[in-house]
Symmetry: C2
Subunit: 556 residues, 2 copies
């Protein structure tokens, strides 16, 4: 155990916080991740900044709230000018590489406006959220009558084609589809097919492929002196919910934990929550047969992820990387899977906004905490600050809005650690906005959670929702209308207001630079409020006293 | 009267809303501005976004709140990436030129980070707040033992030197200084010298010089087909308070209106207001002798400004520019001049946050409103939107946070016109922050004013201030502790919260582009919540149904 040279930043997609052995899942086995957690700190109350891939990731990669960076939804560009993790790390001598998914949309108009060529080094990094790309694959090679969802070239599809999968989009037709009895495609997009094995060799499926890519990166860099951060960003266990054999058969309906839901939730729900419950995916996941088909596949996908972690950790140990590498394992958000009568993510119950967060710090200072858990309120944006701190640099906290986890990793909880977390969601491009009749810009939700009470605020004139997680850990009882809780609601609104007013855009000047400006103008001649000059040191007046220069009248 | 081809955007510096004849000043004569107002609409309730030059101007020039653009104080850079008025106008075929002051600090580190050369066309515009520079002079050529306040080259000093003023910094030693009986410099920085004439030919002083520069610009462009916005940005009547003859003698103590102040204001004031009253400039302006020395000079400076307006308007009429040019006359903030026991600006009483705003629209649609006033709640940021609208373009309201004044100019008040204005101030680099013991980032103040009630919120745990301008137009009675007004305070805090949560950073995507995204992913293969596909049109499933391609097993 020594200093941190490198950082391996592993992200899964849509992995729930409670779908890990070490997090207490009663059936799912994740021995490799569990063993990793024994060397690390597992943060049990870590919240994303938005329960949707793109926005959550832009917060991870900028270290800033969605309200600060403005990439409100998937495929909303991260605007040119935003500082990224890559900017901060490179400034401190560390490269930042991508292996996998970012869901980054480049700000093409912004690049053009600023005259930055997209294929220049700077332009390419701006277009890739600050990363240098070892391989980028967002794993969304969906295709329909209007063509591809993602118009990029898919490295994964290229890989599959090179392996002999005979079609233009093997992601869609092999990796994410099974085969029915009649030799027809049984797509993973249709959840009735989730129990089938994906029609692909297991080693060619997305998770092993990305693991291999990461190992290839590590091999290439193994003798390199220059420190790196490698963002290994998996595509799974995100939908389509289908997994190759043997993982498709590893779990069955008997391993599906009951949905966390209550009939009372459907009685006069908050209008926004009601609109969520009325979506197709919510209705599908409210069916037990669907859960029984899908959740075993989801668990199989996680089991496969865990096996790939085993493979990766073995490589890291053999190559000595465990000694000099900070390793983080997390997810970009959770998945409802039928809890609260919902599917997907995009709202604020624990199963979707709380994520796994396991941080391994090779430094000796972290020895006392290995294998422990921390219930400090952690936000996804804390990672960027943690990584900058790991390079030995000061955290530029006029830009990064999170806090380094280093003290927590070393067994100290700072007294001024945050007392609430914030999460946001923008549903402006969904049919719900139309259905609820809210203005485009009012289709926004905020969550503030202080560790006990969770307030959900919806713009557009709705009442708030409130949950008391101490008395109601399952979040069944919405106290948003409870007169008894009015004071608590007020208190959380005060917190939300304070947060919303925060200084988030003064990113061109550090606190230190601001402090250095204090009083400087006096000695540069800006002298306010003087009547006769006796009010200040004589020296300050050096340029405004004394004999006048010869009159201009003499010169003209 | 016809269409708008050009825009002349005239700004004075530190000109109070009530120091104009047309605004009712009992002694000060501003016949040229008054006559201009007869052709225009005078907005009587226009508020700046910050009562300090730099931040206020960055709001004028970006059309965005300080909380959005982050240039919190003078000399805080406007970060690269912020869109400026120049960007919007040029996109619609109009140039944007500067004649005078901007107080813009370029984001040098941002330019470097993005690889933008400061001397490229794009870089130079970014460094000049979006303007092409005809002449830039911020008029702050103060000098002290540590050198110049502004390290740029001063075109005005160059001009004076060319006119025979025999010194390196004639701004400091001639334009802003008189001469005492012993032939010593009698600097305008010392307010006891304010009654003296500045030691300069009147026609060489700052206001006539900038007027000449503007006329030179207009002459050069007179046969040019390409539309322009010209930002004629004066330095005066901003301090140092000294003016050449005959203006220094035009007004005397008998013309000084009584200070709007009350002994009660000093009894247990709000701590932040108390700290303001304890500054040197506040104490100086609390003296009647100081007011009697300074205010006549301030009035003389305004009289000179008015005469120069007469000269400019005559040129505009002769050259035909009144027919094709929108003309705005405004100021970047006011001046306390001893009101409320304060000097300078930087707080939120009407005399400092309310500005003159006179808008002349040559279009026939504006005929019915000529010579009228409007008491709609207007913000400084409305001008950018007004100018974009004047080019005939749609206002990019995902970037610009103000609203076009066009409807008001044409006699219609939109039903959804704003019901409150917002103003902000950051005092982090002042000794007050230290004195009050607030954290650097808590040294921020917000004002929300709904046309009757004005709430002032100070970060850092202070109680709010509240004024009722209907019953207390002089703002003497702070109701911040009044239990009776608790509901009003709550209501204004709700407004402030709503404002603070606003969508201000999604600037890379317009509302229209967002709307166009609705439902698009379905036809590109993203199909959520399907169990068997019967839930959606068959067509959507085109790429996930049908015979499977030949098995990969056959190929390998």
């Amino acid at each position: 155990m020594s200093e941190i040279k490198n950082i391996l930043f592993i992200m899964f997609d849509q992995l729930r916080f409670d779908y890990l052995g070490c997090a207490g899942h009663p059936h799912l086995k994740t021995p490799h991740i569990d063993r990793f957690a024994e060397k690390a700190v597992r943060f049990t109350r870590t919240y994303v900044q938005s329960p949707i891939c793109g926005s959550s990731r832009m917060s991870f990669y900028t270290g800033r709230y969605v309200h600060s960076h403005g990439a409100q939804r998937n495929n909303f560009p991260l605007k040119v000018g935003e500082h990224t993790l890559g900017d901060h790390l490179r400034a401190n001598g560390m490269d930042a590489w991508l292996v996998g998914k970012t869901h980054m949309e480049a700000d093409a108009k912004g690049l053009e406006r600023l005259g930055i060529a997209p294929d220049s080094v700077i332009g390419a990094r701006l277009a890739e959220c600050g990363f240098d790309v070892f391989v980028r694959d967002d794993g969304l090679w969906a295709e329909g009558p209007d063509g591809f969802y993602d118009s990029r070239r898919s490295p994964y599809n290229e890989y599959l084609k090179s392996k002999g999968y005979p079609t233009e989009n093997p992601w869609n037709k092999f990796a994410n589809a099974g085969l029915d009895e009649d030799g027809e495609i049984a797509s993973g997009w249709l959840m009735k097919n989730s129990p089938l094995p994906a029609n692909i060799r297991e080693e060619d499926s997305e998770t092993p492929w990305l693991t291999s890519e990461c190992i290839r990166f590590l091999e290439e860099r193994k003798d390199d002196e220059r420190p790196w951060l490698c963002h290994l960003s998996y595509i799974k266990p995100h939908w389509p919910y289908i997994v190759p054999a043997p993982y498709n058969d590893m779990y069955g309906p008997e391993h599906v934990i009951p949905a966390v839901k209550d009939e009372a939730e459907k009685q006069k729900p908050h209008p926004v929550y009601g609109a969520y419950m009325d979506t197709l995916i919510a209705k599908s996941f409210s069916r037990e047969d669907v859960r029984h088909d899908v959740i075993p596949a989801y668990m199989g996908l996680i089991a496969q992820c865990d096996d790939q972690m085993g493979r990766l950790f073995a490589y890291l140990e053999e190559s000595g990387r465990m000694d000099d590498t900070m390793i983080v394992l997390t997810s970009d958000h959770g998945d409802y899977l039928g809890d609260h009568w919902l599917g997907e993510k995009n709202f604020f119950h624990e199963c979707t906004v709380k994520i796994p967060m396991i941080v391994y710090d090779p430094r000796a200072a972290a020895n006392p905490t290995r294998g422990t858990t921390s219930d400090a309120l952690v936000e996804a944006i804390d990672l960027a600050a943690t990584f900058v701190e790991a390079t030995g640099a000061e955290v530029p906290d006029h830009i990064l809005e999170g806090r380094s986890l280093a003290p927590l990793l070393h067994g100290e909880t700072p007294e001024d650690w945050r007392d609430a977390v914030i999460c946001e969601f923008d549903y402006s491009t969904t049919p719900m906005a139309t259905k609820l009749g809210v203005e485009l810009r009012d289709a926004r939700l905020f969550m503030v959670f202080d560790g006990r009470y969770k307030l959900i605020h919806a713009e557009g004139g709705f009442r708030p929702m409130l949950f008391d997680l101490e008395t109601d850990p399952d979040e069944f009882t919405d106290l948003g209308k409870s007169a008894e809780h009015a004071e608590i609601i007020d208190r959380l609104y005060v917190k939300l207001g304070q947060w919303a007013r925060r200084l988030s855009q003064r990113t061109a000047l550090s606190d230190e630079e601001v402090r250095a400006m204090l009083g400087k103008s006096n000695r540069r001649g800006i002298l306010l409020g003087l009547y006769d000059g006796s009010e200040v040191p004589e020296e300050w007046l050096s340029e405004i006293k004394g004999p006048a220069p010869a009159s201009y009248l003499d010169q003209s």
